[in-house]
Point group: C2
Chain length 219, copies 2
């Protein structure tokens, strides 16, 4: 396979990062540099020169490999969202209780966040300021996450673990919001609570605890 990625991108987006980058150090450097830039500033606020400088490569190589800034963004977005998708699918297959699945999801978000700290920031950036890629790349990921959470909540209601009087659609939405890690990791909060060692982990642990208590069926 010696097609350019830009060509490949046009035909099939479902190519994992590893496949492409194993033996392509330049492509890899560009992607690694692009993820935090796009996640922290958004597509429009990042220039090609900025991407190239951050990656330590020549500015022309962005177009050479990806066919332009927008295509690179689309690739990064799809690539990162697929990690989220895979995590959800993996949990769905497990033969554990619905509540366990939710706890497991929170754990995985936290662990994934250590290695890929920008997945949910890219996601929420798109939710608050959608680009032309929102409908094609983000909507499906949002639905996927929503249905997973909603399914867990309804299962837990059937089991009698959760209260029957909560709306699973709305509850899935509040859960999605409360579980967002990247928000928690902002410098802003590091300043607000300088004593905390690992805000994300401490936050997640307490947040899921409060939530599960709030929706639990009382004896």
């Amino acid at each position: 396979m010696n097609l350019k990625i830009s060509r490949v991108m046009g035909k099939d987006v479902n190519i994992t990062r590893k496949e492409i980058c194993a033996d392509k150090p330049t492509v890899n450097k560009i992607i690694e540099a692009a993820i935090p830039l796009f996640a922290t500033k958004g597509l429009a606020a990042v220039s090609v020169k900025e991407l190239a400088d951050a990656a330590g490569v020549n500015i022309a190589l962005i177009s050479y490999y990806f066919g332009g800034k927008d295509n690179l963004y689309a690739f990064v977005l799809e690539n990162q969202l697929s990690i989220l998708r895979e995590a959800i699918d993996a949990i769905s297959k497990e033969e554990i209780s619905a509540v366990k699945k939710l706890r497991c999801f929170a754990d995985i978000l936290l662990v994934t966040n250590k290695k890929n700290p920008y997945i949910d920031r890219l996601f929420f950036t798109e939710v608050f300021n959608p680009t032309k890629y929102f409908d094609h790349l983000v909507k499906s990921a949002a639905r996927h996450a929503h249905y997973f959470l909603q399914g867990c909540i309804e299962d837990a209601q059937s089991n009698g673990e959760f209260r029957a009087d909560i709306d699973s659609d709305l509850a899935a939405m509040s859960l999605l919001k409360i579980l967002n890690v990247s928000f928690t990791a902002q410098d802003l909060f590091k300043e607000l609570m300088p004593s905390k060692q690992d805000i994300a982990a401490e936050y997640m642990s307490q947040a899921i605890e409060i939530y599960l208590t709030g929706v639990a069926k009382r004896p």
Copy 2:
């Protein structure tokens, strides 16, 4: 007072929207058009032409009145955040219980959101993708909201209404996230739950209920 706003901006940012715009229809049109554009696309993704077209005014008038796109953005941001600030201050002064204050805050967010649906979207856009105005205009608003929520939580813990074993800093953070209205109002969720009449109101009502149950001291 017949100074240009751009001049005024440089000297004193604490000018309310009403004061300036009462007798200035053009200025008012520009601001009204700019709020949703900046909130939904972000500073970098909005062009001056786009702003002028949306306002129905000549493109040169943006610079004439505000001294450029960035200054207009700064004005809009400060203007909208001040509404949030005033709401918090008003509740703080009330002689009601901490839990009532939290419920009241949720209500006010909801009501405010009907008239000014873009306040928290501007806020969260800045949190996820900070611009050069973040430190100066947004940080203080975030601290203000955080300390308000944290204070309510600690008061409720002292009163014995909330559990003593939760961390008020982390709890304030989860509450700030869960109370965000603009996220809830995204088209995405309207599609996911088409049967809901007023997602924001229904969401808020359930979310605050779950949260307060989760942190309540149990008998």
